[in-house]
């Protein structure tokens, strides 16, 4: 029963990820005084890509062909580990938050390799930039989640969320820092403004889009879908770790219903915050990203240190 529920939850995750992308696009258009497409537009895009014939460059090897499947399944698996509407599901015990970061890295590695497989300048450029950014963003993310892990004495996401729920609403400086760090990392890792612009196809400024430039048809659909899932994953992580109230702790129908409603609400709010930052800030130049990411890293490390100095000490005495 619990396993079935876990699989259903994962399916819900995968199915609603394009909806979140559509919502973000809708809010962004409204804020920019443009006429918005329907929230369902990402589904239509995916469907359109699905029925188109894909094109492979002559120089591509099997890495290029199989990378979309690996990227997609790694991302789906990562989605399975993260509690969406209920905690204490068996899937969250299979892997903890460090494995989650590892799966993000696995997906990214294959995307980058696929970018380099063709042997064009764009692929290499996107790959180099993506790895540079992620090699600074990943430690910041790990530090942010470690802060939580040290407070909750666990790296298991379900247990950590239970811990936050059980201690109630306490203002912890470490969590504020970690939240800040994780939000900055989210923007960088999901390729949003000011680090990368998902809407651009101007060759010299793209990062994510440059890597996947050669993809088309159903493979592009898989990659796009995977990046929508990834965006939602980060959203769910922030929402459920720092504001877990409303998540179902028991597996009753009403609790689960409340969980779905609450996570939808939280993601909608987070989407609006993301759009606000996208509308208010301009894209940075690539060699400014390091400052941005070092700031995120610093925030996370500060969060960790303030936990150790302020909070853990209190437990001791």
């Amino acid at each position: 029963m619990a396993w079935l529920l876990a699989i259903l939850e994962t399916l819900l995750f995968i199915a609603t990820a394009p909806l979140l992308a559509g919502w973000i696009k809708l809010v962004k258009c409204r804020l920019q005084n443009r006429k918005a497409p329907s929230v369902l537009q990402p589904y239509r895009d995916l469907r359109k890509l699905y029925v188109k014939q894909p094109i492979i460059p002559h120089s591509a090897s099997w890495i290029f062909r199989y990378a979309p499947y690996i990227v997609f399944s790694a991302t789906v698996l990562a989605a399975a580990f993260v509690p969406l509407v209920a905690v204490n599901l068996p899937t969250s015990r299979i892997a903890d938050v460090i494995v989650l970061v590892g799966f993000f890295a696995l997906a990214r590695t294959f995307l980058v390799l696929a970018g380099m497989d063709i042997g064009t300048a764009f692929g290499g450029m996107g790959s180099s930039r993506e790895m540079t950014i992620s090699s600074l963003a990943e430690p910041a993310m790990l530090m942010a989640v470690f802060t939580l892990a040290m407070s909750a004495h666990t790296t298991d996401l379900s247990q950590a969320i239970n811990y936050v729920l059980n201690t109630g609403l306490v203002l912890r400086p470490s969590f504020v820092f970690a939240l800040g760090g994780l939000m900055l990392v989210t923007v960088a890792e999901t390729g949003r403004i000011p680090v990368d612009n998902p809407a651009t196809h101007l060759e010299l400024t793209m990062i994510h889009e440059a890597m996947i430039l050669e993809y088309s048809g159903r493979w592009l659909a898989l990659i796009e879908w995977a990046s929508q899932i990834k965006l939602m994953l980060y959203g769910v992580l922030i929402a459920n770790i720092f504001f877990p109230w409303g998540i179902a702790q028991e597996l009753s129908l009403s609790a689960l219903g409340l969980g779905v409603a609450m996570i939808a609400l939280k993601l909608a709010v987070l989407g609006v915050i993301l759009v606000l930052s996208e509308v208010l800030f301009a894209k940075m130049r690539i060699f400014r990203v390091q400052d941005y990411l070092s700031f995120a890293y610093l925030l996370s490390v500060l969060g960790m240190l303030s936990h150790i100095i302020l909070e853990a000490a209190r437990v001791h005495h």
Binding site: Q53, I56, P57, H58, S59, S61, W62, I63, Y69, F72, S73, A74, V76, A80, R93, I94, A95, I98, G102, F103, A105, L106, T109, L113, M116, I118, G119, T120, F122, G123, G124, M125, S127, S128, M131, T132, S134, L136, E138, P139, L142, F146, M150, H153, T154, D156, Q159, E203, E214, G217, R218, L222, I286, F287, S300, V301, M304, L305, I308, H316
Partner: protein
Amino acid sequence: MPLFFAYLSVTAALISALAASVGNRRIELQRLFHLLLQRWPETLSRLDVVFSEKHYAKKHRDSLFVLLGLSGLFALLAGVWILAGTATITDTLPLGLPWLHWHVRLDPLSGFFFCVLGLPLIAVSLYGPGYIREFERGKHSLTVLGLFTGLFVAGMELVLLADDAFFFMIAWELMSVASYFLVVFQHEHAANRKAGFLYLLMAVIGAISIILAFGVIAGFGGGLTFDAMRDTGLSPAWASIAFVLALIGFGMKAGLVPLHAWLPEAHPVAPSHISALMSGVMLKIAIYGFIRFSFDLLDQIHWQWGVVVLIIGSATALLGILYALQQPNLKRLLAYSSVENVGIIFMALGLALIFLSTGQKELGSLGLVAALLHCLNHALFKSLLFLGAGAILHQTHEHSLENMGGLIHRMPKLSAIFLVGTLSIAALPPLNGFVSEWLIFQTALQAGGLESGVLRSLIPTASAMLALTSALAATCFVKLYGVAFLGLPRSQHVAHAREAHHQGMLYGPALLAGCCILFGVFPTPLINAIAGLTEQLTGFALPNISALGWLWLTPISPETAAYAPPLVLLGAVAVGWLCYYWLYQRKGMEPRRAEPWDCGFGGLNARMQYTSGSFSMPIRRIFSPIFNARETLEEHKSGPAKTRVTSLRYQFNVPDLALLMLYEPAGHTVLRFARWAGGMQTGNIRTYLAYSFFTLIFLLWVIS
């Protein structure tokens, strides 16, 4: 019985050395066998086929590696046997000094390192016959290569068996000196001779430091045997002196910053299968020495030692990978990455020292388990990568990443095997490198329970460094794979490369790749075995390591952290297969081959790709204060006002700071001192007579 296998293993390595040294005397050997086997004429006729000129070279070459392979197999058997039983076997050999025979001891710790040695050695013995064929026609004698390979392996095995300081040092020096001759095997290149000299020098300094470290304990205790040393109660000050000396001595060999600079010079210039043994195994022998010394021989551990080891380990890991990222030479990159991995192992050892000395014995054991597991993992994937690099070198004669590319089309099997190594060393799930780093993170995250605020904040800072290191390692190895194997070939001979025709050159790395996957997906039995041996060292077991069953890994408790790699892999395969099944096999929608996007200009070529140097340029720019990179840009301009740039030439060189700031100044100081001391040699007979006179007077004064 395990000890018997260990002896067999050493004997096989020594016979291999012997066989190599007499191997080029074919006629004499044939005559010798005729004398020995006069009574069995039918065996003789078969033997004559072997000794015929046509077959002899191949048989001889193969026999050396068969013996090495047997040595590896016996080492593995001995190791697994002793690990399964957790008994300790001791013995005394009638060799050595009259009053100090060689004491031999095989316990689970040395047994584990026998396994670490055995697996790569088996792979190397599969790989070697194909690889050294090219040396046969060259000007280098295989006698030297075979002789010193055998001695090198035997030396490493004897280090693991040694149970007294005297025997230990003899074995240690045998290992060092034999590997020196392997480093300078291709001595016609000046760079190799220089690297060899640097290596020998550092090995000697390291050995002196180790001898002094043993001397400190032996001076206070009853003797040179390790048993006597274990019972020596040292004062904290003397224990710390011994510890620092051992850290310098073993750290020199293992490649700790700032003593590491010889390593990336020496390891890459040896033949590739030797590089694999040096980076994969010899560094682990140094780590074995350090563990034996500080966790076993010294009876008390102080937390300050752990802090020193943790800080040095973090610096080593981070600097190692940053330098690795900037290397265009494939084997040098791998050598720098060994420095990084040694740093990671020492970080785990530092955590173990801190936790053990502050009374958290269980966490200390966990740190030690993580360190040992990473030793094994690194031995597997680094040997794999060096053997793979050797195969590329063998087929293309190309060292530099800047000239590679597109090898996945030319060498599909090797590229698949190499990919496994790349993913493992980049610490990606579900492979083995991830498991050990996960364990180190889990150990570090338990720092909240420590009393001291300094330690509580130091350990998370170190884990931040580890996080950065592993992210950079992923970047480094993605770059390596992407530049060498993917894209378009950047030079002619790479474009025409072919898969190695000797199958062993693929089987060896494939064996290691299989182990990487196996230990990545099913780590729990292995970790249980290691936990058994750390229990002997620290006295504390890890009770919860498989609390949820063998599928799950739960280092501390099921609530704290759980990881089930088999289920993760199962999930990934299921999801991947489902979407492959639904999406790939679509009738009438087969993908179409076309030109890649070239902005509509046409004429894409291999020189337009990102190179190794350009891929790592952003990192070079971001970490520029550490690198001291020397970049030059030459522009050739033409046209009436010199406005049109006709050609550009960009060069960069990243010298190692340790070489510039430690090695060279030290070298200059020694030279200056030598010149000053050389002033005594006036060449004048009267001066020398005066020296003798004053010496005599001094001696008379002494004895009177």
